[in-house]
C-alpha cells in the first residue's frame, strides 16, 4: 500500500510539473514522453504487486546469458 501511495505522489508531482510545458510541444516530444511514462507505469505495476513480469534485464539475460556464462566458465579455473 505504501509503495502505491509513494508512486501516486511521484506521478502527480512529475505530471503537475511537466504537463503545462508539454502543451507547448507536440509530435515527437509528446510521443517520447508518453512512451517513457507507459514504461514507468508497467514497471510500477511490477514493483507494487511484486510480479515477475519481464523487463530489460530478463530480455538481456535471455539473449546474452548463455554466451556470457560459457565465456566465464571457459576462463574459470576449476
Amino acid at each position: 500500500m505504501i509503495k502505491m501511495v509513494i508512486l501516486v505522489i511521484i506521478y502527480t508531482a512529475i505530471l503537475v510539473y511537466d504537463v503545462p510545458k508539454l502543451k507547448e510541444w507536440r509530435g515527437r516530444t509528446v510521443f517520447v514522453y508518453t512512451l517513457l511514462m507507459i514504461i514507468a507505469l508497467y514497471q510500477s505495476i511490477i514493483f507494487v504487486f511484486d510480479l515477475e513480469w519481464p523487463f530489460l534485464h530478463t530480455v538481456f539475460e535471455a539473449v546474452f546469458g548463455n554466451l556470457a556464462n560459457q565465456l566465464v566458465e571457459f576462463l574459470e579455473v576449476p
Partner: protein, 367 residues
C-alpha cells in the same frame, strides 16, 4: 535542442575522471579480486590497453566531427535508420547502468548502515537529487563535481595510508596461483563493466570549446592512466589487508577502513568511506543520467532538453527496484557475468562500426 552550454577541456577531463573512477574505486576491487585473485592488478593494467584503444577511437571520431556528438555523426556516417537500430541497445544499457549505480547506494545503506529501512527510500531520494542536479546543466555539474571528487580521493588516500599499518605484503604472492586465466577473467569483467562506458563521453565532447582540442586529448588519456593507477593501488591495498578472502567482501574499501585503529585515537574512519561511496555513486549517477537524457534528446530531435529528465529518473528508479527484487546474489551474477558482454555489444560494437564507416568514407573521398 542545440545546447549553448560550454565546458573547458579541464572541466570535461575532470568529469571523465569522475565518471570512470567514480563508484568503481570502491565497489570494483572486491569483485575484481574475486575473479582474478592476486593477479587483479594485472587485470587492471590489461584493461588499460583496451581503454586506450577505445579512447583513441572516440577521439578519432571527435577529430572528424568536432561539433557533433555520437548520435549526430552516426546519422551522417551510417544513416538515420541504422543509427536508430544501434541506439536501442545503447539506450537500454545506459538505463541499466544508471539504475545500477544508484541502486548501489541503497544496497550499501541497507547492508552496512540502516538495515530496517526499505531500500526504495534511499533509491528514491537519491534519484530525486540526481534528477534535480541533471536539470541544473552540465556547466554547473562540472564545476561542483571536481571539489566533491577531490574530497573522495583525499579520503581514499588517507584510508590507504592509515591502513598500511595492517598490510601484509606476503598476501600479494603468488601473483598467478592458478595461471593466467583468472587474470583474463578479471580483465573481461573490469574492461567490460566500467571501461567500455568511456564511449559515452562521445556524447559530451562537443560541449568543449573548440580551441582546447589538443589539451582535451592529452587530458583524457591522463585521466584514464590516473584512474587505472588509483584502481590498482586500492586493489593492492585490499589484497594486502584481507588476502584471498578480499573477493568475498561487497564493499572492500569500507571493510579496509574498518580495520584502522591507531592508538585508540584514529578509529571508525569507515565513515569516510561511507561518505565516499554515496558521493561517488551520486556523481556517476548524475553524469550517467545526463548522458542518457541527451542521447534520447538527440536521437528524437527533441527541442526541450530538460523535459525527459523526470520521467527518465522515474524509469531508472523503478528499474533499480526490479533489479534488486531478484536478490543481491542474482544481481552480482548479472553485473559480473552478463553486463560485460552486453556492454561490449551495446557500446563497443557501434563505435567500431562508426570508425570503419568513417575510414571508408575518408578513403572514398581521397579517390
Amino acid at each position: 535542442m542545440k545546447d549553448q552550454q560550454q565546458l573547458s577541456a579541464s572541466e570535461l577531463c575532470s568529469l571523465f575522471f569522475i565518471f570512470i573512477t567514480g563508484s568503481n574505486i570502491l565497489s570494483i576491487p572486491s569483485q575484481l579480486i574475486g575473479f582474478a585473485q592476486n593477479g587483479a592488478w594485472l587485470s587492471v593494467l590489461l584493461s588499460l590497453v583496451g581503454g586506450v584503444g577505445l579512447l583513441a577511437g572516440v577521439l578519432f571520431l571527435y577529430q572528424k566531427f568536432p561539433q557533433m556528438n555520437l548520435i549526430e555523426y552516426s546519422r551522417q556516417l551510417v544513416g538515420k535508420w541504422i543509427t536508430m537500430i544501434l541506439a536501442v541497445p545503447f539506450i537500454f544499457i545506459q538505463l541499466n547502468s544508471t539504475s545500477g549505480i544508484i541502486l548501489d547506494v541503497g544496497v550499501f545503506m541497507t547492508t552496512a548502515m540502516m538495515r530496517e529501512t526499505p531500500i526504495y527510500v534511499f533509491n528514491l531520494l537519491t534519484f530525486v537529487v540526481v534528477a534535480l542536479t541533471v536539470r541544473s546543466g552540465i556547466e554547473k555539474i562540472s564545476r561542483m563535481f571536481t571539489i566533491l571528487m577531490l574530497t573522495v580521493i583525499l579520503f581514499i588516500m588517507v584510508v590507504v595510508i592509515l591502513a598500511s599499518a595492517n598490510y601484509q605484503p606476503e598476501y600479494l604472492v603468488p601473483v598467478l596461483p592458478d595461471g593466467f586465466k583468472p587474470v583474463l577473467l578479471g580483465t573481461y569483467f573490469y574492461f567490460g563493466v566500467p571501461i567500455t562506458e568511456l564511449i559515452l563521453f562521445a556524447m559530451l565532447l562537443p560541449y568543449v570549446r573548440s580551441k582546447e582540442n589538443q589539451l582535451l586529448k592529452k587530458g583524457m588519456f591522463l585521466a584514464l592512466f590516473v584512474n587505472h593507477i588509483f584502481i590498482a593501488i586500492v586493489t593492492i591495498s585490499t589484497i594486502m589487508i584481507f588476502g584471498p578472502v578480499a573477493g568475498e567482501m561487497p564493499f572492500s574499501m569500507f571493510a579496509v577502513a574498518r580495520t584502522i585503529e591507531i592508538y585508540e585515537v584514529i578509529q571508525r574512519v569507515e565513515l569516510l568511506m561511507g561518505y565516499s561511496l554515496i558521493i561517488t555513486n551520486y556523481l556517476k549517477g548524475v553524469i550517467s543520467l545526463y548522458i542518457l537524457n541527451i542521447t534520447i534528446i538527440y536521437l528524437f530531435n527533441i527541442k526541450d532538453n530538460r523535459i525527459l529528465i523526470f520521467p527518465l529518473a522515474l524509469v531508472c528508479f523503478l528499474f533499480s527496484m526490479l533489479l534488486i527484487s531478484l536478490g543481491q546474489a542474482w544481481r552480482i551474477n548479472y553485473v559480473t557475468v552478463i553486463e560485460p558482454l552486453w556492454k561490449a555489444v551495446s557500446y563497443v560494437l557501434p563505435l567500431l562500426i562508426l570508425i570503419v564507416a568513417a575510414v571508408l568514407r575518408k578513403n572514398r573521398e581521397s579517390y
